[in-house]
């Protein structure tokens, strides 16, 4: 299995001017040099609290807000090699757009309220001129069935405000997957849905991932959801990835103090479970750093990477 996406040293800075008379331009390092790979067919979870930079990373990856520096390479299936997104010509850009999609968090704002469901799902096909015109409608009906919105005819002429939140999210998924992209970024797609519906949406996404061999970058603040959805999890804090490992490995053997703190803060839906609150302690991390003083991310085995320098950030008690 080769890599689908390789991200190296991704940086995104925002300049904030200090006011009308101030000459100082404060720089906010939303994403401060992160590295990760995603293999074909794999789901990587990007977990962190609000403001840690996960959404910024997502937007930089799909060129909504271009990155400040760093490299993002993706596997082009036609040319069969890794291509940088900085050097895309028109054809390359079109291929990139066909293969990279995003599902948003808010089901109520991610569909154009003045378009019908049919037009919304059909739009990607129209933009990329895929298939004959009559076939496009067939494709829409087919994908509606796949995401569980049956009978499809009931939904084609509806407007987004006429269907529920869970159904809207399915429409988003349908629209995203109609072109069979290789890579989909999911920005907390279930956090605004009812608890009882979340699982059905997540199961749908898992099944589609298997059937269509899609990779996901699954962004969430909820580690429990990440556990359900992802093969690997990367933990982000303050614009940096502090730890990245296979899901069970991360949950059972966290190394970085932030990860430990995060995991220990999560409530468990079991009244008899005694949760131990973790108190931040750098000893273990220091020992590992001492052995590998030069590496930015240290591999402690099992593809489990821990960040070292500059990650002893003050965890602000607020």
């Amino acid at each position: 299995m080769n890599n689908l996406i390789e991200v190296r040293n991704l940086v995104k800075h925002f300049e904030v001017s200090g006011g009308f008379f101030s000459r100082n331009k404060k720089v906010i390092k939303a994403v401060d040099g992160i590295d990760f790979d995603i293999k074909s067919g794999e789901t990587l979870g990007l977990v962190g609290q609000s403001g840690c930079g996960k959404t910024t990373t997502a937007r930089a990856l799909c060129l909504l807000d271009p990155k400040s520096s760093g490299s993002v390479n993706f596997w082009n299936t036609e040319s069969e090699k890794m291509e940088s997104i900085d050097e895309l010509d028109d054809e390359g850009m079109r291929s990139f757009r066909r293969n990279m999609q995003m599902i948003f968090q808010d089901p109520y704002e991610s569909l154009n309220p003045r378009w019908t469901i049919k037009d919304i799902i059909k739009e990607p096909l129209d933009i990329h001129n895929i298939g004959a015109l009559n076939d496009r409608e067939e494709a829409v009906i087919e994908i509606l069935r796949t995401v569980g919105l049956t009978p499809p005819e009931n939904y084609l002429a509806r407007y987004p405000h006429e269907i529920s939140g869970g159904q809207r999210q399915r429409v988003s998924i349908a629209r995203t997957l109609i072109m069979k992209p290789k890579f989909v970024i999911c920005d907390e797609p279930t956090s605004m849905l009812d608890v009882s519906i979340r699982i059905s949406i997540m199961d749908l996404m898992l099944n589609l991932a298997k059937d269509l061999n899609v990779s996901y970058l699954y962004i969430t603040h909820d580690l429990a959801v990440a556990r359900y959805m992802c093969n690997r999890i990367a933990v982000m804090f303050n614009g940096k990835i502090v730890e990245i490992a296979d899901t069970e490995e991360l949950l059972n053997n966290p190394i970085h103090p932030y990860t430990k703190r995060l995991i220990s803060s999560i409530p468990i839906p079991d009244p008899s479970y005694k949760r131990e609150r973790y108190i931040i302690n750098y000893d273990e991390l220091d020992k590992i750093i001492a052995k590998n003083p030069d590496d930015k991310m240290i591999d402690i085995g099992n593809e489990h990477l821990v960040a070292t320098h500059d990650t002893k950030d003050y965890f602000i008690e607020s």
């Binding site: 909504l64 990279m100 808010d106 154009n112 933009i127 002429a157 006429e162």
Partner: protein, 357 residues
């Protein structure tokens, strides 16, 4: 095939449901309903006139608002009013001239001696069975003139409103979408136009050019379109621009133009429609002011009716010639008020809807 039919059926029934729901929401607003009745009433007037002419119920030569005329004369006895009262014929000063009598001193054009009978035109004639609202000084039916004025008002209002809102929507959306220098320029332009006082500007324009109703519509529309509405539409467009569905379209690879016209514009349109309704009121009011001042080259309108009444001195006779002033004045007031109320009613339908789940 079957899919298509089914789909169309469902689409039709969904539209019907949606319209019914919107109508119910609009009905809730009492102001909106009142406004709607008023506007509808005037609209009926608008189409009533051609119907009456076409079906022959009204004889065009009599009832045409511009050139209609029918003789209405009456015999009057010429008298000379005495200087002191009471006399044997008259008790008070106000008794002379009496009914069917006319004071020789007030006769300008006719010649006649005291004691003679003379035929005088009764125009402007008060309301009678044949002329519901009477006639003006040229013998033209006032009711017909009101209907004609209604046509003018609707035409002018809708034309200028559409033009104005069309311009401002496109400009506002462009400013929001492209930002930077384009935005800065458009905003300064908007500020400039906002500063200009509309009516004096119209006076100046009418001094240079002969303003017909079409011209006025274009001028009003352009001035309105370049003015403050651009700023409001721009702020709405800015809100739409950052919504996830616009991001989604960009990620899918949509071009700037396509996103602008297919995604952003349709979401700004409801607000634009609202402005359109409100700007109709300004247009109608402007027209009546301009006609009142005699600055418009127009055959008949409400403003012109009042202009004529004033120029011929009937305004100062108090309510004696009320049918020359009140119908036209009240029409302007009510129609503009009606449109405004409809706008208020529409506001309640659109605003919560725009963000409704």
């Amino acid at each position: 095939m079957k899919n298509n039919n089914n789909e169309k059926e469902i689409a039709k029934s969904l539209r019907r449901e949606a319209i019914k729901k919107n109508w119910r929401l609009f009905k809730q607003s009492r102001l909106g309903m009142v406004g709607l009745y008023i506007v509808f009433f005037f609209f009926l007037l608008t189409i009533l006139q051609p119907i009456l002419f076409i079906t022959g119920m009204w004889d065009e030569s009599t009832y045409n608002p511009v050139v209609g005329y029918v003789d209405q004369t009456q015999d009057f006895l010429i008298v000379e009013c005495p200087k002191e009262f009471p006399t044997e014929k008259y008790e008070k000063r106000s008794d002379c001239p009496g009914k069917n009598e006319v004071n020789v001193k007030t006769l300008f054009y006719a010649d006649g001696e005291v004691g003679e009978t003379i035929q005088l035109n009764l125009q402007p004639a008060p309301p009678s069975r044949r002329h519901i609202l009477g006639t003006d000084s040229l013998g033209r039916d006032v009711f017909s003139q009101i209907m004609e004025g209604s046509q003018v008002a609707f035409l002018l209002g809708i034309l200028s409103a559409t033009l104005g809102v069309g311009i401002s929507t496109i400009l506002g959306t462009i400013a929001a979408f492209f930002g930077g220098k384009i935005d800065a320029y458009l905003m300064r332009q908007s500020d400039l136009v906002l500063m200009l006082p509309t009516l004096p500007l119209l006076f100046i324009i009418s001094a240079f050019a002969e303003l017909k109703i079409w011209h006025l519509a274009v001028v009003l529309g352009t001035i309105g379109g370049l003015g403050g509405t651009v700023i409001t539409i721009k702020s709405q467009a800015l809100q739409v621009k950052v919504k996830p569905f616009v991001d989604s379209a960009r990620i899918t690879g949509g071009s700037q133009m396509k996103i602008l016209f297919s995604h952003v514009l349709p979401n700004v349109a409801p607000l634009a429609l609202l402005f359109m309704v409100f700007s109709v009121t300004g247009a109608i009011a402007s027209e009546s002011v301009l006609s009142f001042l005699g600055l418009l080259n127009i055959e008949m309108s409400w403003g012109l009716m009042i202009y004529l009444a004033q120029v011929e001195g009937y305004i100062f006779s108090g309510l004696k010639f009320w049918w020359l002033i009140l119908p036209a004045g009240l029409s302007v007031t009510f129609l503009t008020g009606g449109f405004y109320l409809v706008g208020r009613g529409l506001d309640e339908v659109f605003n919560p809807r725009l963000r409704k789940r």
